[in-house]
């Protein structure tokens, strides 16, 4: 009685066996490589060395990151200035870039003024309503989360 291990052949034996079988059916058909294969391959490869190319790619990624961070900081600055001018009586963003009569300055001034009723209504009653609203929001959020946590779910495998 033999063991299952008796049927195991190693990779080398298997390769030889496969090649013998392929040879019997006339495969793989041997084909001559094109004469300019090396030249063509070299032509499509980048001229610079991989290490140099890697450094250049890292520099480009760094520059992209700096641009993105600068853009994000610029937008954050605009947002903070806008909110400060409406809420805290800071310098008007619109009047920093013009006199509010035309162009972008006019658009920004209109936006600043449009935000005022929204925020002033929220802050009516010396901020007491705002405080009550925030407390209520916190309470509602807590209840919402509690209800959701108390309902365990089983995810369906595929839902369209």
């Amino acid at each position: 009685m033999g063991s299952r291990d008796n049927h195991v052949i190693d990779d080398q034996q298997y390769d030889q066996l496969l090649l013998r079988l392929l040879e019997r059916s006339g495969q793989p058909a041997a084909a001559e490589p094109p004469p300019d294969l090396v030249t063509r391959t070299l032509r499509v490869l980048p001229q610079e060395l991989p290490a140099v190319a890697g450094r250049a790619a890292a520099r480009r990624a760094g520059r992209r990151l700096v641009v993105r961070v600068m853009l994000a900081l610029f937008m954050l600055l605009i947002a903070l200035l806008g909110i400060w001018s409406v809420l805290g009586g800071g310098p008007s963003l619109a009047l920093m870039i013009g006199n509010g009569v035309s162009g972008l300055s006019r658009v920004l001034l209109t936006l600043e003024l449009l935000a005022k009723p929204l925020l002033r209504t929220a802050g009516v009653g010396d901020g007491l309503w705002m405080l009550a609203g925030l407390l209520a929001l916190a309470g509602v959020g807590w209840l919402w989360w509690r209800l959701l946590r108390r309902t365990p779910v089983v995810y369906a495998e595929r839902v369209t």
């Binding site: 936006l111 449009l114 209504t121 595929r158």
Partner: protein
């Protein structure tokens, strides 16, 4: 616990009501000789300033008349702004949809803006809380609004059913199995959105760069409520029937949408409130079923 939740919900529901009642009374007057150190703000109430206001004077849909002195800006989305001959405004004036009048001798230090970017918002406000609600033109405008709303709602409901039938079915099943929990979660979501929307919208508009984000958030919130409405219609179409047919689903969707449209044509503000109210249980079921992708486990 349940009693506490109920009390909190009742209290929160009454709070905005008190505020609206306060704002919809007679004209708010800052009398001559009276000095208001902060800001003055109303929603639908007219304002008259004969005294002195150090801050801003703002109203959503009320008219503002200045014969005294205002240190800050004067803004009304939907109402007229009038500065009398003795009026002094230290900041800018914006009358989005109303008329801006300045008498001879009146002093306005800043810019005067009439119309502009806020006109669409002012028109929407006027539609929901019209200055004159009688007359054939007003009725025609409200009817057209209701019709447009009905067409849009039906189209979006059908799109949801066509593209996400499985999700809608799962959320609908959640609504029929856990109706009270879905209702409470939906109402809490609506309440949280109502509480947060005003200051959040203000901050995003004030930040200038947040305006596109505000538009995206508004669209997202409306899409969620329409999803909730579809889930409600689906649940009603399966209730009491052996099997759901698409004809029954379509009929119920149309009935719900028409109900909302009719109420919108009669009283726009109530119609919009009805839409959010009807969609809330469905929205709660959508939240419970994690967007219609999971089945809640019901404890027995």
């Amino acid at each position: 616990m349940k009693r506490f939740i109920l009390l909190l919900l009742i209290g929160l529901c009454l709070m905005p009501g008190m505020r609206i009642a306060r704002a919809q009374g007679d004209m708010l007057v800052i009398a001559a000789g009276q000095h208001e150190a902060g800001n003055v703000a109303t929603v639908a109430q007219d304002i008259r300033v004969d005294g002195i206001v150090d801050g801003d004077v703002t109203s959503w849909n009320g008219s503002i008349t200045i014969t005294g002195s205002v240190g800050g800006d004067v803004v009304s989305y939907g109402g007229d702004v009038t500065v009398g001959a003795t009026g002094r405004v230290g900041g800018h004036i914006l009358a989005s949809a109303g008329v801006l009048r300045q008498a001879e001798g009146a002093i306005v230090a800043g810019q005067k803006i009439n119309g502009g970017a806020g006109e669409a918002l002012a028109s929407l406000l006027d539609l929901l809380n019209p200055a004159s609600s009688t007359g054939p033109d007003a009725l025609l405008g409200r009817s057209l609004f209701g019709l447009a709303l009905a067409v849009l709602l039906t189209a979006f409901c059908l799109l949801y059913s066509a593209f996400w039938p499985g999700r809608v079915a799962l959320a609908s099943d959640t609504l029929s199995r856990l109706p009270s929990r879905a209702l409470m979660l939906g109402m809490l979501t609506t309440l949280a959105l109502a509480l947060a929307s005003l200051p959040l919208a203000g901050l995003l508009v004030a930040s200038v760069v947040g305006v596109p984000l505000l538009l995206v958030l508004l669209a997202l919130a409306l899409a969620l409520y329409v999803y909730g409405l579809v889930v409600l219609a689906h649940m009603l179409s399966t209730r009491g029937a052996a099997s759901r047919t698409s004809g029954r689903m379509l009929a119920i969707t149309l009935a719900v949408v028409l109900l909302i449209a009719v109420v919108v044509a009669l009283a726009p503000a109530w119609g919009v409130a009805l839409f959010f109210l009807l969609a809330s249980p469905g929205l709660g079921a959508v939240v419970l079923s994690r967007g219609g992708m999971a089945q809640p486990i019901v404890a027995r």
